[in-house]
Amino acid sequence: MTFFTEENRTLAHEIIGRYPKRRSAMIPLLHVAQAQAGWVTEEAMVEIAELVDTTPAEVLGTCSFYEMFKREPVGKFLVNICATMSCALAGAAELMEHAEERLGVRAGGTTPDGLFTLASAECQAACTEAPCLQVNYRYRYRVDADGFDQLVDDLAAGALDDEIPPHGVTARVRQHIPAGRAVGAVPPEAVAEEPVWLAVADGVSSGGAS
C-alpha cells in the first residue's frame, strides 16, 4: 500500500462501504486514483485490486475499457478538440493545426512543461456551437485561433483554475453521506425473485405476462 494518500485511502474505504460487494467500488476508486495522480498508474491499479479483493489484471481490464481513464501521464489540462462532422465543417481541422502549432505538440502529445495534452476527440454533443473543444471536459464553444490562444494563456496563467480543476479531478466538493442516513445496498443474494423496487401486490406478479 503505497499509492493512495492517507486521505484518499480513508475515502476509498468509505466508498467500498457503500457496496455489498467490494468489487463494485472498482470504478469509483479508479476515479479517486486518477484524481490523485492525474492518470491511473500501475501502482494505483495494484492497490485498488488489493482494496477490492481482486487481481490487478481485472482492474486493468476494467480500466482499459474506459477511454477517459488515462494509463499514461497527461498534462494538467487535457484539451479535446472535436473532429466530428459539424465541427469539421466549421473549421476543426484548422483549429487543430493551429493548436498543434501553438502548443508545439502533435495531437496526442503533451507539452514538455506537463501543462497541456492535446487530443482529437469524437463528437462532444455541442454541434450548434462548432467548432468546440473541452478542457478537462469543460466546454469552450466556437473556438477560433485567437480564442484558443487566449484560452491557453489563461490556463497557463492559472486564471481559470477556479473553473477548471486539474485533469482527473471529478469534483472538488465530495458528498459524504452520514452513516445514519445511508440507505445501503441490498446484497444481490438477499434480493428476492422480484427486483426490490417493484411493489408486489398479493398474488399478482408485477413482472411480465404470465
Partner: protein, 829 residues
C-alpha cells in the same frame, strides 16, 4: 415470474423440434446442449459446457422459432421452451454462419502451417465446414508481437485470438485466478496479463486445451508434433490421487502432451499443470535405464561429489542384479526383509509386490506410505465418500492440507460446488488455503490441534454441531502437516465419528496410487481387497496360502528397525524416504543401517543413491494396468511408449524375483494379475476387468470396521515456541517436478512463514534469515510475514528443494515445536 406453475407439477421434459425431429429436452437446457444430445452439432467457439454461456462468438446462431417466426439467435444463450422450433441448417442459418466466420477471420492471421493448433483447430475445422470459402476483406489485419509468454508454461499469440472469452472465463470462474483479462476495447481488445503479474495459475494449461484457436500454446508442446502424427491412448493421471482422466499422446515414442478428458465423476475435463506437464520426467535423461550395482558400499560415498550419484554404481544386467537380490533374500534372517513404497505403480504392481512380500519374502513389514498419510486401517476402512458426494453434501468439512497445492482438481471441484451452492464448505486448517474464501466458515488452528478445535465446536453450543447432525456430511480428511503425527489426524476421525456417526470421509491421500497400494495390502496388517490380515477373506487365503503371522512394522517401524540393524534387505519401491519421510534423521539412519538396500526406481533419488542394487522401473505411460484414486475408484492406465533401456514394470520384477526364490507368483502378464485381483478381492470383483469404462468403477467398501484411536488432548504448546507446520506446494522438491523440464524452475522457495504479529515478537524484518531450532536440529532460513498463517504456527514447505526440513522433525513426537533465534553467526549444521 409466473404463477401458473403453482397448481401443476413442473414438466420433467420440454418438447422441442430440432431440424424437424421432436426432441425431449431438459427444462432450462440450452438449445445448443439439447441439440448436441439429440445428435445435432451446432458449431461454436465460446460455448463450453463446463462454463457459463456468454454468447461472445456468435458462431452458434441458428434459427429459433418460439411462435413469433424464426429468428437468428445464439443457441448457447437461449434455453429451450415448449413448442420451440429450431433449424440449424436453414439457408439463413448457413448465411449467418458464413458471415460470422468471415468476421472472425478478419484479423486472424491464417498462419495455420506454423500453428500448433493446425489439424485440430476448431476455427480451421469449422471454417472448412461452415465457412464462406473466401473473404471480402482486403484490409490490413491487426498486428501484435508474436507469441508473448504470459507465464512460464503458456504463450499467447494475440493475432490468432478470436476473443471467445474461454480462457479468461476459465481463469475467473473455474480456476479462481483471474490473472488474464480482456484489456483495451474495440478494435484493440486483447487478452493480457497485468504487467509483471504472469498467468501463474496451477490450472493455466487448461486454457491451452480449451482455446478454440492457436492463440494459447503450451511451452512444452510448442512445435513438438503435429496432431495427425500423434499416437494416443486414454489413461488416468497418477501424479496425485485425484485420478484425472487424460488422453496421453506421443510422437516418435516420446510423450509430448496430456489432454484432460471430461468425465463426470472426477475431473470434468480439467487438469492441473503439474499433472499436465509432468510427462517431461518420463523422457528425462536422468532415468535409470539399466540395473546398477554399487561399486562401494553405501555410507562410504565421501569421495564422490553429490551431483554424480551414478558414479557409485556400475551398470550390470538383470540376471546379475536379480541374482544378487535373490542371494540377499536367501541370506536374510526371518522377518528381516521390508518393503517401503509402492504408491507410484499400478494396482497390479502393488498386488504383485504385496503377494511377493507375504508369500515369498515372508514378511509383513510393508508400507506404501512414508508416515505421510493416515493409518492404513483408517485410510481404507473409513466410510467412504466420492468426490461427487463431497460436492453435494449439505456440509463438507475440510480438515486437510491446502487442496489447491495437494490435490488441485479436487480443489476445483469443491470450489465449483461451493460457488454453485451445492455444498457448504467448513474448513479447519492452520493456514488460509485456496478454499478459505469459498468456505462459509473457516476456523484456524495451531498445527496438530484440529481435533481439539473440532471437539470444542461439536461439544459446545456452536451451531455447527446442529448443522452436522441434521444434514449429510462429508469430511475431506488428510494430513495438513507431516510435522505432526498421523494420530493427530486420526483423532479427527475419532472425534467426528463419535459425534456425527453418519459422516463419510474422503481421504485426501496425496501420492498417485497410494489408495490402490493400500487396497492391495501394501501396509502392515492389511491384505488385498481392503481386508485385515487378522481375518483374511477365504478367496485370498486359498490363493495365497499361509501368511506371515505377526503384524509387521509401518514405515516408521521399518526405518527404526533398520537403524538398529534388524533389517537385512530393504526394498525401496519408488520410495525416497530421505526426501519424503518426515523425520530425515531416522530415514538416513534407517537406509544406511539396512543390510542390502534394493531400489526399484526410475531415478537416482537421494535414497536410491544410497542403495546397493538399483532395478530400473518403467513409469506411467510405459505400462498398462489399473489405478485407484482417493475415492477408491478403479480406472485404467494405458501404455503408450516403450520404457527406456531395460526398465520394466514393478510387477514383472516381483514375478522374476519370486521365480529366483523358487516360487511362482502365478502370473506372467498384467491381464492375469488384473484377473487374479478380481478373483481374490471381493471388493474389486465387479470393479476391474479388461472393459473398464472411462469413468472407472468405485470398488466396494472395506471388509472391516475400522477401530478409531482414542481421543486425547494435544500437548500444551511451549509458550516461547511456535508450532511447525509443513505445508505442501504443488511444485515441491519431488522428482516429478525436478525431472520435468517444464516444471523444474517453478519449485517454490523455502521460507518460514509466520503471522505478522508473531514476526513482530521475533523482532526482525520480513525476509531476514533466522535460525529455527527444534529438539532435533536446526536450520537457517529466511522468515517472512504472512497474514494467512494462524498465530502460533510457523509454516515451511515440505519436501523442500535443497533444504532438509525433515531434520527438524521427530517421527515419534506428536507435534514439532520450534523456536526462532535471530543471532548471527555460522549456519547451524
Amino acid at each position: 415470474m409466473s404463477d401458473t406453475a403453482a397448481g401443476q407439477a413442473a414438466p420433467s421434459t420440454v418438447e422441442v423440434t430440432i431440424n424437424g425431429v421432436a426432441v425431449d429436452a431438459q427444462p432450462g437446457e440450452l438449445v445448443i446442449a439439447a441439440a448436441e444430445r439429440a445428435g445435432v452439432h451446432i458449431p461454436r467457439f465460446c460455448y463450453h459446457e463446463r462454463m457459463s454461456s456468454v454468447g461472445m462468438c456468435r458462431m452458434c446462431l441458428v434459427e429459433i422459432d418460439t411462435g413469433r417466426g424464426p429468428q437468428l439467435q445464439a443457441s448457447c444463450m437461449v434455453p429451450v421452451s415448449p413448442q420451440m422450433v429450431v433449424d440449424t441448417a436453414s439457408e439463413r442459418t448457413q448465411r449467418a454462419q458464413e458471415g460470422v466466420l468471415e468476421l472472425l477471420l478478419i484479423n486472424h492471421p491464417l498462419d495455420c502451417p506454423v500453428c500448433d493448433k493446425g489439424g485440430e483447430c476448431p476455427l480451421q475445422d469449422q471454417t472448412m465446414a461452415y465457412g464462406p470459402g473466401e473473404s471480402r476483406f482486403v484490409e490490413e489485419k491487426r498486428h501484435f508481437e508474436k507469441p508473448i509468454p504470459i507465464s512460464e508454461l503458456v504463450h499467447l499469440d494475440r493475432e490468432r485470438c478470436i476473443l471467445c472469452d474461454r480462457c479468461t472465463r476459465f481463469a475467473d470462474e473455474i480456476a479462481g485466478d483471474p490473472l488474464i483479462d480482456f484489456t483495451e476495447r474495440g478494435n484493440e481488445t486483447q487478452v493480457l496479463t497485468f504487467p509483471g503479474e504472469p498467468f501463474s495459475s496451477y490450472f493455466s494449461g487448461n486454457t491451452v486445451q480449451i482455446c478454440p484457436v492457436g492463440a494459447l500454446t503450451a511451452a512444452p508442446y510448442r512445435f513438438k508434433a503435429r496432431p495427425w502424427d500423434l499416437v494416443e491412448t486414454e489413461s488416468t493421471c497418477t501424479t496425485c490421487s485425484v485420478g484425472c482422466r487424460i488422453a496421453v499422446q506421443s510422437s516418435r515414442n516420446e510423450l509430448v502432451r496430456y489432454l484432460g478428458v471430461d468425465i463426470d465423476p472426477v475431473n470434468h475435463g480439467w487438469l492441473c499443470d503439474k499433472g499436465r506437464f509432468a510427462f517431461g520426467s518420463v523422457a528425462s535423461p536422468n532415468r535409470v535405464t539399466t540395473p546398477l550395482q554399487a561399486r562401494v558400499p553405501s555410507g562410504t560415498t565421501s569421495d564422490l561429489s553429490d551431483d554424480e550419484p551414478l558414479r557409485r554404481f556400475q551398470p550390470t544386467d538383470w540376471a546379475n542384479a536379480l541374482g544378487a537380490v535373490a542371494a540377499a533374500i536367501r541370506a536374510a534372517r526371518p522377518g528381516a526383509i521390508a518393503v517401503l513404497g509402492g504408491a507410484r505403480g499400478t494396482n497390479e504392481d502393488a498386488y504383485a509386490w504385496s503377494k511377493l512380500a507375504r508369500t515369498v519374502l515372508r514378511t509383513d513389514h510393508v508400507d506404501a506410505q512414508l508416515s505421510d498419510g493416515l493409518p492404513a486401517e483408517l485410510a481404507v476402512g473409513l466410510p467412504a465418500a466420492t468426490i461427487d458426494e463431497a460436492c453435494s453434501a449439505d456440509t463438507t468439512l475440510l480438515v486437510c492440507g491446502d487442496l489447491r497445492e495437494e490435490l488441485p482438481v479436487l480443489h476445483l471441484r469443491l470450489r465449483g460446488a461451493a460457488r454453485a451452492g451445492t455444498t457448504r464448505l467448513v474448513e479447519i486448517a492452520p493456514t488460509t488455503t485456496g478454499l478459505t474464501r469459498n468456505a462459509v466458515r473457516a476456523e484456524q488452528c495451531r498445527g496438530g490441534e484440529a481435533a481439539s478445535v473440532l471437539r470444542n465446536l461439536l461439544d459446545g453450543d456452536d451451531p455447527l454441531a446442529g448443522e452436522l447432525a441434521s444434514g449429510s456430511v462429508v469430511v475431506v480428511l488428510g494430513r495438513s502437516s507431516v510435522s505432526e503425527s498421523a494420530e493427530a489426524t486420526a483423532e479427527v476421525a475419532s472425534v467426528i465419528s463419535a459425534r456425527v456417526p453418519h459422516a463419510r470421509f474422503l481421504v485426501a491421500a496425496r501420492r498417485g496410487n497410494v489408495r490402490g497400494a493400500l487396497d492391495m495390502g501394501l501396509a502392515p496388517g492389511m491384505l488385498p481387497g481392503r481386508a485385515l490380515s487378522a481375518s483374511p477373506p477365504p478367496e485370498l487365503a486359498s490363493a495365497w496360502g499361509e501368511l506371515p503371522g505377526e503384524r509387521g512394522h509401518d514405515a516408521t517401524g521399518i526405518l527404526t528397525a533398520a537403524a538398529s540393524g534388524e533389517i537385512d534387505v530393504l526394498f525401496l519401491l519408488g520410495a525416497d524416504p530421505l526426501t519424503d519421510f518426515p523425520d530425515s534423521m531416522l530415514a538416513r539412519l534407517g537406509v544406511s543401517g539396512a543390510g542390502t538396500v534394493v531400489a526399484v526406481d526410475s531415478f537416482v533419488s537421494q535414497s536410491v543413491a544410497e542403495a546397493d542394487i538399483v532395478l530400473p522401473a518403467a513409469v506411467f505411460g510405459e505400462k498398462s494396468g489399473t489405478t485407484t484414486n482417493l475415492e477408491g475408484r478403479v480406472s485404467a492406465v494405458g501404455e503408450l511408449v516403450t520404457a527406456p533401456g531395460s526398465a520394466r514394470p514393478d510387477w514383472m520384477i516381483a514375478a522374476e524375483l519370486a521365480v529366483l526364490c523358487g516360487l511362482d507368483l502365478g502370473f506372467v502378464s498384467v491381464e492375469e494379475i488384473t484377473a487374479e485381483i478380481a478373483a481374490v478381492c471381493t471388493t474389486h470383483a465387479g470393479a476391474i476387468g479388461p472393459e473398464l469404462a472411462a469413468d472407472g468403477v468405485v470398488a466396494s467398501g472395506a471388509a472391516f470396521e475400522p477401530e478409531f484411536p482414542p481421543e486425547h488432548v494435544a500437548p500444551a504448546r511451549d509458550a516461547y515456541g511456535l508450532r511447525l507446520v509443513c505445508s505442501r506446494k504443488l511444485y515441491d522438491g519431488g522428482v516429478t517436478v525436478s525431472q520435468a523440464p517444464a516444471l523444474a524452475s517453478l519449485a517454490a522457495d523455502t521460507v518460514l512463514r509466520v503471522h505478522p504479529v508473531d514476526l513482530e515478537r521475533v523482532g526482525v524484518e520480513s525476509g531476514t534469515e533466522v535460525e529455527v531450532h527444534s529438539d532435533r536440529g536446526a536450520l537457517r532460513l529466511p522468515i517472512v510475514a504472512d497474514a494467512g498463517i494462524a498465530r502460533g504456527n510457523v509454516v515451511v514447505l515440505f519436501p523442500s528443494p535443497h533444504i532438509d526440513v525433515g531434520a527438524l522433525i521427530d517421527a515419534t513426537a506428536p507435534v514439532t515445536d520450534v523456536r526462532i533465534e535471530t543471532r548471527g553467526g555460522e549456519a547451524p549444521r
